[in-house]
Each structure stands twice: as C-alpha cells, then as structure tokens.
C-alpha cells in the first residue's frame, strides 16, 4: 500500500468541494461536500457554519448512501389504468404528461371548488412556498406536519411567552447553571443541542432529565427523574406550587414583564369575568396587547400598568372605584396551584414528593442566588434605561414528551409559567428567543373567518394557518362547524395553529365535513409512520364508493424514495435529493437563527439530479404558472418566475415590500439586509458565504426582546414585526378566557355548537391545570395498565433512512423495551416474541429487557418497521420481518362518545396528535406462532425507474467503485 503519510487523499481523482446545507433531517446543519470525479467522496460538517460549527451527526455523515440508494425514484409515474390503487403498478410518463394531468384536474377544481384540492406536507422546510401555493390556489386545506408533531410546544409557549423552543428559541446553555430537560429524545435542533449540552456539562452545569426513559441525552444527565407519561403537568404545577410557597419567584420580573400584577375582573356574574379590566383609551387596531390595563399600587390603588414609580402588588383582592372586584392575576395563579402540592403530584407522577420539592428548591435557589449581570445597557419600551442585563441561570428544554399528549398544551403553559416565575425569559442563562421571535401573543396571521373566504379562482382570504386570538378568528361556518377538511380552527380544536394532518385521510374518506377530490402529499409518509391507525388508514386510501370511485378520488405523491405512501398514489412525482436542488431556510418559516440574531440559509445543488427527478419547488412554480395563480404570473398572464432560483431571488411578499424568502444580500448590489430590492446575484453570495446569512444584533438588542425598545423598533424597521409594542408574558391567558366566555354564552360573536360547549369551557382555562390524558377516560386502565411510547433514534430520521445501507445496520429492526420487572410479571423473557395490545389493535414483536425505563412504560424506536418490499429493501429484510410500527395500535380518533360523533385523538386546545397517550397491555406470544412481526402487509412492488436489484456486496469507493455512475 502507498504510505498514507506520503500521499494525500486529494491526489486521487478530480476533487471538488462544495458547501451546502444538510437535509438528512430538519436540523439544517452546514455541510461541506467533497466530490471525487463527480461522485460524493465525503460529507462533513462545515466548520464555518454557526449552526453546527463543523460537527455532523450519524445521518448527515451517511448522506452518500441516501444519494445512491436503490429506493430512489427517477421517473414520473402514473397508476396503470387497469391496476387498483395500492398495488404499486405504474407506468412511466413524461413530466409534460404529469403537468397536463395536474393542470387539468387542479384547474377545474380551482374554478369550481378550490377546497376540493388539499395539499399536505410532512417533514419539509418550505412552508413559505407550499403555503403560498395553497393560498394562491384558494384552498384552505393546507398544512404541514406541525399538527401531529409538536404544535402543543409551539402554541403553549407562543401563547404564553411569545416564542418557543427549537428554531424559535432555546436554553442559553452557555450561561446556564441548572438545566432541566423534559420529554426530549433528540429534538429538531439536535446538533446544536448536543454541542451545547456537552459544553454545559463541562462547565460544571447540573443537568436533570425528566423522562420515563433514560437513553441518549438523558443518559448523561446528572440526575434522571423517571416520570409516568402524560403527568408532567402535575409535576410542573407542583413545582410552581412549591416555588410560590417558598417565595422563590422573581417578583420584579413578574411585575414588569408579565401580566402577574395586572388586575383581572373577578366577578363571576359579569360578562367580562376573567378578562383584564381595561380602561378607556384610544388603541390602534392591531395584533398586540394594548396597555390599557391596571395595577394595584400599594399606596394609590388602581393605576395604569407601568406607571413610573408605581409599586404594584401581585397578591390580594381589590375593589375598583366602580365596585368591580379585581384580582392580580398572580393571585389567581397562586390560588390555582394551591391544591397542586408535591404530595398530590407524587400520586400522579410516581415521583417522590421530596424529589419534587428538592427540584423546586434547586431551581428557585439557583435562579435567585446565582444571578448573572452583564454590563449591557438597554432601554425598555416604557423608556426606562437599564445599565445592565441580568439573568437567572436556570433553563429548560422540552419536546414531544410534553407535546404529544392530549393535555400537552396546559402542561407546556405550566412550563412556560414556571420559566417565567423563575424570571428566565430572554435573559442570559435562561430561555432566549431566536428571530423572528418574539412575536405578539398571539402572532398576527389569521385564518379566513368563514366559508366566504374560499372562492373559485381566487386566492384564500387569509392565511391557511394562523393564530386565533379570540373566537371570532375561528374558521367556521354559520353553525360553528369547520370549513377545513382537518377541522382546524374549529371549535373542536380552536387553536390548531398547525392544522391536523393526522385526520385528513380519515375525514376525507368519511366525507366529514366533506369530500375532497385531490389529495397532494409532499414529503409525508401518510400510509405509514406519520399516520395513526395505519392499518385502517391504508384501507381508507383504497376504499371505494358504491359507484366504484375511490373515496379519495385522486392522490398525488411527491417523494424522493419508494415509501409506503408512494404505493397509494395515482400520480407520483419524483423529487430530487437534498444534494440536487436549491432550498431556502427562510425567515418566513423556519430559519436557523441564533440567539444573537437572524440567520437564514440555502441549499444548492452539488450533484446532478438522478434520472428525471425534479425539485418539488419547480413543480409548484410550473403549476402556479400554468394555473395562473397571481403570485406566479405577471399582469398579462405570462409566467413570472423562470425557475425556483429565480423565484427565490425575485419573490416579494407584496410588490416592492423588499421582503422575500432570503434576508441576506438584498438590494440591487447586495448591500441591504433583511429588507431590500431583489438582488440577481443573491444566491451566489449565499453560496460564497457557506450558504447562509447571519446577522448579529447589537448586544443591547440581544436580550429582553419582548420589552426591548431598541430591538422592537429594529425588528419593526426591518419588517420582522408590524408593531414595536411590548410582548408581556401571559401568565394568565385572556385569550383562553375569551373562548371560555364564548362557551359559557357570555360573549357575543361566534359560539361553539352545543355539543362542544362543555369541552371548550373546560379546556380553555386561562390558568394551567392538570387533567389526565383524554384516552385514559375512554379506556379501562386496569385492563391496559401500561403506557407505550416511541423515541427517535439518533441515527435514523423517521421512515426515511431504512434505505440507507449504513444507517440500517445500526437499527435493522426494533424491539419493545420493557422493564424486566414488568416483563417477568407477564412471563415474557428477554428476546421473547410477545404481543402488545391496545384497545385499537395488537402487534407481535420482540421484547428487550431494559432497566432504563419506568416499569409502567414500554417503548420502541420510532418508524423502524417497514412494509416488506418498500424502501428498496428485499421482502426478507429485517425491517418488515422483525421490525414493527407502533402506529398500528394508536388511534387517530377517540373512542366514540356518542354515535356519529367523531373527535380527533388530540389535544382539545391545539389539535396536537396525542401519540403518547396510548394505553396497552403485553403478553407472551405462543411458541407455535410464526417468528415474524404482525401485522404484515402485502409485499410492495419495485417501481419503474428504481435501480435494478443491487448485488450482495456493496463496496463504495468514490470515483472508483462508487454507485453514482450512470447505469447503476
């Protein structure tokens, strides 16, 4: 062999290096792709990228095997005339044919009833474009994956503090001393989280993980607090109880920056009961919280909030001059948590009361005694100058462990309130926002207000997704019934700000609220891992009317791989891989901002598209032009954008707005940032700058942004927000109370249908409260004593990495992890075949003992199980024979309460899919049962355009024995 020291790797072949952005997951790290003779030699983290600082993850480093996977599609496909849907029988067609089919069908729908076209997208990062397309088309039936993902986290926090975790904000681990992580296995922002977690530990920080399971991050926690699933609300409220009882809250912070001291009308007889008492003041209409509320000054009594020199109280009950009884909202919170003692929570969470108390003390004392003071002067919106920025170094992070329960919204409200009590919002060492957050509570965009917002050949009157601030913002008809196919923004789930994608297929199949014609799915594996009740959903997709027509007449699937869903398509659009296309990580949807300021990024093609693969963005722009959607056409009806790069550069939110998809290098010569004219060389400038643009705010704008005058005015000036008004924390949620008042019939305007009044009244509580997950009420919890969870493996992204020859060696199939104590009680041995059964179905799988799981919980890795033959795998592959999907036994709807009354298995406030509520029992499989998982599905056929069968051996050597050459 050549001496490796004498010879450099770059001597072999023609070497090129290109920077772009990873999309092996939604974390969006900067990567450097090295090519040798046009084949991918190596993908590494880009050390100059702020997001991942050079590191990469298991998936990112396996990009080669994704690029050259045999599961890749390469041709547009049309279901064969004589083949049934789901049989995976397709013929190759040309793109021109594909476009004319879509143009004709969609053109007709748009001209007649645009809502019959539904566009739903999964793990994508281009909602700015897909949302724009849907709105321009005029259909309300659009959403991305947020509803089944973590909308509770977004809504619970944004409706409380004006920002949320992941790309919207996060724990300031550089300065934190105590970090509490709840219900997180991997997170969206996974590489940055790992980077900071390790730094935090090395700096001597204390890390506590609250999770029924100890894997991944929890493994390196200084303390693991196992909790019973679905009970974090109880824990957090008990901690709030203890913090308030001990006086460990940050009183000054609460008074100045939250509505803690603001006076709430406390007379149940009044129609404005539970609303803040507001005095007459001219307020400009806008989506901000006008400052016409009152404090109770110790000396003077009622006084306008933020009156200079005021000394407001936060406890007590008072009577205003006009006899109205009022209470500072903090008093109401205190009353609320009175009963939530640690002893009470112990019975629910299975965490000892002494531990709960200690956790509260650790948080409170650390926050109080380890104050950080940074000599950064800033000015608040009320004109007060501050010589320094201070902070309390306790921080939190939480994810779907809280979100994916039907009580998640209130749990997350409780968490946000705990963070606020500790005084840790947008301060050093606590939680910090990332641009474009903070945004008003709630943010401005609103859905249309009723069916009249949907008109033929007209763009939708409102945003397909928005943030209702009051009942009148709901998207319902005269009867208060939903207008959207997923029933979002209806009384069933009023604050379903990300839609309810998990109910689309069921609703469309049942025709409730109506039938649709065309369902377009992009980057969503809805026939498998992103649906609940998978077995049934797969039947719905092929179910027909009496007249032989499919209940969902036409399904278009845009995917890069041979997923389970592609088999159910009538038309398949082969997408490019992330290394073959342009993409934008835009401030308009999901940027990669840092605490220090906005950052956005692009992806650029580094290799040629495979076969006839076409970026979905190009498809949308082509379709938009053909359908003559206003945003995609010139006045004369001609096509406006040549292609997606042209769109990225030239699109403006409104003519001349200067706001587009990308915020860097705007203006003709690229000299402007955030706002400015289109710059024809913008993409090149991004490409030269590691495919990203970072803007660093002045230090004095980096903290206390909800109330930071400088920041808010800057944000307004640069088109990030419309108002430079303070964003006071909603310790007490007047927004929720408004819905409750409507349900109680106390407000004019939209009213819930009778059947939902009780529900809305119960769950729209202005203060957080604990209730058992909804499913528990319908299920005999004695019979189904266990909770079943899934976790994300760090080395796999949902369903889409089983086609990856390297990653699938790490997770080839999955086991059900069971505490030995629990397993033995059911006579199940380590490695045994067993059944896991919920009221909705049962699965045969294999058991693996684990001491790292709470005995009342069983769990498995998410989305490892596959349909045989899918994903370019053989029908014998372990994924289908030994792997399984927990989704088969999770229901998308709650068991019927009354005949004909269907309710989504979701959080009643936000419509968040309650994946983790499912209750199960387990038992051993008989010895004579087959050693394969159950249920099994018919083997999926290989598609035209997929690579021929691969050999037994694969020995990838870029440029030599690679897989990227033509013909492979």
């Amino acid at each position: 062999m050549l001496d490796p020291v004498e010879h450099s790797d770059s001597e072999l072949g023609r070497v090129e290096v290109k920077n772009t952005t990873c999309y092996m997951c939604a974390c969006r790290c900067g990567i450097r792709v090295t090519l040798r003779d046009g084949e991918i030699r190596h993908i590494e983290g880009n050390p100059e990228h702020p997001h991942n600082q050079g590191v990469i993850c298991a998936k990112g480093a396996s990009g080669i095997m994704k690029q050259y996977s045999p599961a890749r599609l390469s041709k547009p496909l049309l279901r064969k005339q004589d083949a049934e849907r789901g049989e995976s029988e397709f013929e190759e067609i040309s793109w021109e044919q594909a476009f004319s089919i879509m143009e004709e069908r969609l053109g007709h729908l748009r001209a007649t009833d645009p809502k019959k076209f539904a566009l739903f997208t999964g793990r994508d990062q281009m909602q700015a474009l897909t949302g724009l397309f849907a709105r321009q088309f005029g259909t309300p039936n659009y959403a991305a994956h947020g509803g089944f993902c973590s909308v509770n986290m977004a809504a619970g926090m944004i409706y409380t503090i004006g920002g949320s975790f992941w790309e919207f904000g996060g724990p300031d681990l550089d300065r934190s001393k105590l970090f509490i992580m709840l219900g997180t296995a991997e997170d969206h922002d996974s590489n940055p989280l790992k980077i900071h977690l390790s730094k935090f530990k090395r700096n001597g920080g204390r890390f506590i993980s609250i999770n029924p399971i100890r894997t991944g991050y929890s493994a390196i926690a200084d303390e693991w607090v196992p909790i019973k699933p679905g009970t974090d609300g109880a824990l957090l409220l008990a901690i709030c109880h203890e913090i308030i009882k001990q006086g460990l809250f940050d009183r000054e912070f609460l008074i100045q920056y939250s509505n803690a001291a603001e006076l709430v009308v406390n007379d149940p007889e009044r129609d404005d009961f539970g609303l803040f008492h507001r005095f007459e003041m001219h307020v400009e209409e806008g989506c901000f919280d006008p400052e016409n509320k009152l404090w109770w000054d110790r000396e003077i009594g009622a006084i306008g909030t933020h009156t200079p020199g005021a000394d407001p109280v936060i406890l007590g009950e008072y009577t205003l001059d006009d006899g109205i009884k009022v209470t500072p909202s903090f008093q109401l919170l205190k009353d609320r948590v009175e009963e939530y003692t640690p002893e009470w929570a112990e019975g629910i969470t299975h965490i000892p009361a002494s531990t709960i108390r200690r956790l509260a003390h650790e948080m409170g004392v650390t926050a109080r005694d380890q104050k950080i003071e940074l000599p950064i002067a800033w000015r608040d919106v009320w004109g007060n100058e501050h010589k320094s920025v201070t902070g309390n170094p306790v921080s939190f992070h939480a994810m779907r462990g809280l979100a994916a329960h039907s009580n998640g919204f209130h749990t997350i409200r409780a968490l946000s309130i705990l963070m606020t009590l500790l005084g840790t919002i947008d301060r050093p060492g606590g939680f910090r926002h990332k641009a474009p957050f903070p945004r008003p509570i709630p943010p401005c965009p609103k859905p249309p207000k009723g069916p009249e917002g949907v008109q033929p050949n007209t763009p939708l009157d409102g945003m397909p997704l928005g943030w209702p601030a009051e009942p009148n913002d709901l998207f319902v008809d005269e009867q208060g019934e939903p207008v959207r196919i997923d029933k979002a923004f209806s009384w069933e789930h009023p604050l379903s700000v990300h839609g309810l994608m998990h109910n689309v297929i069921t609703n469309a199949w049942r025709g409730d609220p109506y039938r649709i014609d065309t369902l377009m799915l992009f980057m969503a594996n809805m026939a498998w891992n992103s649906s609940m009740n998978t077995v049934k959903v797969r039947q719905m997709l092929v179910d027909k009317d009496e007249d032989g027509e499919y209940k969902i007449p036409f399904i278009i699937v845009c995917d890069t791989f041979q997923s389970e869903t592609v088999a159910f398509a009538d038309l398949v659009l082969p997408d490019t891989s992330y290394l073959e296309r342009y993409d934008a990580m835009s401030l308009l949807d999901r940027p990669i901002s840092e605490f220090s300021g906005p950052v956005d990024a692009i992806r650029i093609p580094v290799v040629e598209p495979k076969g006839e693969c076409k970026p979905f963005q190009e498809v949308l722009i082509e379709l938009g032009s053909r359908l003559k959607l206003p945003a995609f056409t010139n006045e004369d009806g001609s096509r406006k954008y040549r292609d997606y790069p042209g769109f990225l550069i030239n699109f403006e939110t409104a003519p001349g707005s200067g706001i587009g998809f990308l915020s860097g290098w705007r203006g003709k010569d690229g000299a402007r940032t955030l706002k400015g004219e289109p710059n024809p060389r913008q993409l090149d400038m991004y490409a030269k700058n590691n495919c990203m643009f970072q803007f660093e705010l002045p230090k004095s704008y980096q903290y206390m942004r909800n109330w930071n005058k400088g920041y808010l005015e800057w944000a307004r000036g640069h088109g990030m927000t419309r108002y430079a008004e303070p964003i006071s924390i909603h310790l007490y949620s007047e927004v929720l109370q408004k819905f409750r008042l409507a349900a109680q019939g106390k407000s004019s305007g939209k009213q819930p249908p009778e059947r939902l009044r009780r529900r809305v009244e119960t769950y729209f509580d202005p203060l957080p409260f604990y209730y058992e997950p909804l499913e528990n009420r319908h299920v005999d919890t004695q019979k189904y004593p266990l909770n079943a969870l899934t976790q994300r493996p760090m080395a796999m992204y949902h369903s889409w990495d089983s086609q990856n020859a390297w990653l699938r060696q790490i997770h080839t199939h999955n086991y059900l992890f069971v505490n030995p104590q629990t397993a033995r009680a059911s006579g199940i041995g380590d490695g045994d075949w067993m059944w896991i059964e919920s009221p909705h179905g049962r699965i045969r799988c294999m058991c693996r003992y684990s001491q790292a799981v709470e005995p009342g919980t069983v769990w498995t890795w998410n989305a490892i199980g596959k349909v045989s033959g899918a994903w370019g795998l053989t029908e014998r592959a372990n994924e289908s024979q030994k792997g399984f999907l927990l989704n088969h036994i999770i229901s998308e709807e709650l068991p019927l309460e009354k005949a004909g009354e269907y309710l989504s298995n979701s959080d009643p406030v936000t419509g968040q899919a309650a994946w983790f509520d499912v209750r199960v029992k387990i038992y051993r499989a008989d010895d004579d049962e087959p050693r394969v998982t159950s249920p099994q599905f018919e083997t999926q056929k290989k598609l035209p355009g997929q690579d021929a069968k691969r050999g037994k051996w694969q020995a990838f050597y870029a440029g030599v024995t690679g897989l990227g050459k033509a013909g492979r």
Binding site: Q809, I810, H811, T812, Y815, R848, S850, Q851, N878
Partner: protein
C-alpha cells in the same frame, strides 16, 4: 470462538500426519535395534511417507480455506521471529520436505549403511533424514499448538497443556493410523503401533482431562467491568451498536447452546478414549484388518469433535463487547 472447519481439519490432519511419520520412524528405529521385524522400504515406508504427505497436503489444503487471501500465503513466512503462525508456516513445508526425502530415500532403497553405531546399528540415509524429520515434527507440534497456546487472551488455550494435547493427540492418532496402515498392509505391527497409540491416548486422557478441569474452573481475567471500566455488579449490554452481525459476532462465537457443547464434549471423550481403544483391543482378539482402521476412524472423528470443542470452549474477552442487539 467460532470453530473454523479449515483449522479443525488442518490441525487434526497434520497432527495425524506427524504422528504417522513418527510411528513409521519409531518402527524403523525399533527394527534397526531388531526389536521388531524390519519392513520393506518401498512397500511400507515409502507408501507410509506418501500417506503422511497426503495428510499434510490435505491439511494444507484445508488451511487455505482459513485464509482470506490464500494466494499470498507465501508472505506468511516473514515474521518467524515473533509469530508462531509464521513459524508453523516455515516448519510445515520443511517437515514435508523431510518426509518426502525420507520416503523418497526409502523408495529408492538407499539403504547402504553410512556408518555403524555401536555393534550392529547401521545408520543409513533414511535414519538420518528420519531423525531430522522427527525433530522437526516435534517442532511443528509445538509451533501449531503455540499458535493457540500463545494467545493469552484465550485463557482456555493459554497453557502448556495445549501443547501437550496437540502433541499427544497427534501422536495417538498417528500411531493409531500406523496400526491401521499395518493392518491394511497386512504387516504384523498392528499391536506394536496400537500399544503405543493406547499409551499416548492414556497420557492424552490425563492432559486433556486436566485442561477440561482447568477450563471448567477458569476464572477469566477480564470482566464486563474491566472491559468498559465501570465498577458495578449489575451491568448489562443493551446494544452492541449493530444488528445484522459483524466479523466480531461471527468469528468469536460458536452460536450453539450449552447443551450442544456438553454433548460434543461427552462424545469426543467417548470416541477418543473409549470407543477407539476398545475397537483396537478387539482387534487383538479378532484379528481383522478392518478393526484398526475403524479404531482410527473413530479416533479421528473424535478428534474433529475435540478440536471443535477446543474452539467452542474458548471465551474471548472481546465477547464482552458483543452481547446484545437492540
């Protein structure tokens, strides 16, 4: 360890070959001293040597299957200073060469005495070659056995008993084969070789039993605790980090149940130490050429099982790292 059939055949075949050669030469030596009748050079010794070479050749052939790149086998002589494998690779052909020379000399009838020792011991070329080959044969036993005995991580093997067992089993099977050969050739040396074979079996029984005993009570140096450096009584591997197997799960595990192991052990003890000598003993009363051949065959099968067990029994410390998938 995973019992590799190539190695099982290699060691048992060349062991028997070496033993056979030593038996032949012992015969010649005895006949020199006129303790037993002399045999025909070409008919007995040359053919015998051919059989030895055949066994060695078969062993070598089997060993090829053990190598990933047999075409480069020649390279393996390079590191004789440090590697027992390298030494074996040198000694084995040397031995074959000497056996060939020995057989060839017999075949050519080079029986002219070169000199005479004492009164009437006439030393010819074959004797000189035979002495050299015998010496090398023992060296080969040591080299082969040391390949295993020198791996200190395989504590079941890392003992002089391994060398003793390899040598004794080689001798026993070789002498038994010589008995069978004599029976087949119709030569009256069956009981001569047979007695030696039984004698070696008897010692082998002691050494092999000693090694079984030792291994049964062996306390391994490494523990899961020392493997990962964590002090706790309850450590369980949850996952080894991959699920479809790897070289480490294939090469170092036999993949059989404890019961199979026990059965194989019983079987080889039975075949080697009871059935084979029994068959031979019967041949003393019923002189049939088939019985000694059967005795050897049974012994050889027993040895294959013994060697299989030898591998399966050895627990490699690397196995601490490859216990579970999830």
């Amino acid at each position: 360890m995973h019992p590799a059939f190539s190695v099982i055949f290699l060691t048992t075949l060349i062991g028997a070959g070496q033993g056979l050669f030593l038996a032949l030469f012992t015969g010649q030596f005895y006949s020199l001293a006129n303790l037993i009748p002399a045999q025909d050079s070409a008919g007995f010794y040359a053919v015998g040597s051919f059989v030895v070479l055949l066994l060695l050749g078969l062993g070598l052939f089997a060993s090829i299957f053990h190598l990933g790149r047999p075409e480069r086998a020649w390279r393996s002589a390079a590191k004789w200073r440090t590697s027992w494998l390298s030494r074996e690779v040198i000694v084995l052909p040397l031995f074959m060469l000497l056996v060939f020379a020995y057989g060839f000399a017999h075949y050519m009838g080079w029986n002219e005495p070169l000199f005479t020792l004492g009164a009437d011991i006439e030393v010819d070329v074959t004797i000189l070659i035979g002495i050299a080959a015998s010496f090398i044969s023992f060296v080969l036993f040591v080299c082969t056995a040391m390949i295993y005995a020198s791996v200190k991580f395989l504590e079941e093997w890392h003992h002089w008993l391994t060398v003793a067992n390899y040598t004794l089993f080689g001798l026993a099977s070789g002498f038994m084969l010589a008995a069978a050969f004599s029976a087949q050739q119709g030569v009256a040396l069956v009981s001569f070789f047979g007695s030696w074979a039984v004698f070696f079996l008897f010692i082998a029984f002691i050494t092999r039993f000693a090694s079984l005993l030792r291994n049964a009570g062996l306390k391994h140096k490494s523990t899961l605790q020392s493997a990962i450096g964590v002090r706790h009584n309850a450590i369980v591997q949850e996952t080894q980090g991959f699920m479809g197997g790897s070289f480490n799960t294939r090469e170092f595990f036999h993949g059989r149940s404890e019961a199979t192991l026990k059965m194989v052990r019983l079987l080889f003890l039975l075949l080697i130490f009871i059935l084979s000598p029994l068959l031979l003993a019967i041949s003393w009363s019923i002189s049939s050429p088939l019985l000694p051949i059967a005795a050897f065959s049974v012994l050889y099968i027993g040895l294959l099982l013994e060697r299989w067990y030898f591998f399966a029994e050895a627990k490699h410390p690397q196995n601490f790292y490859y216990q579970s998938m999830a």
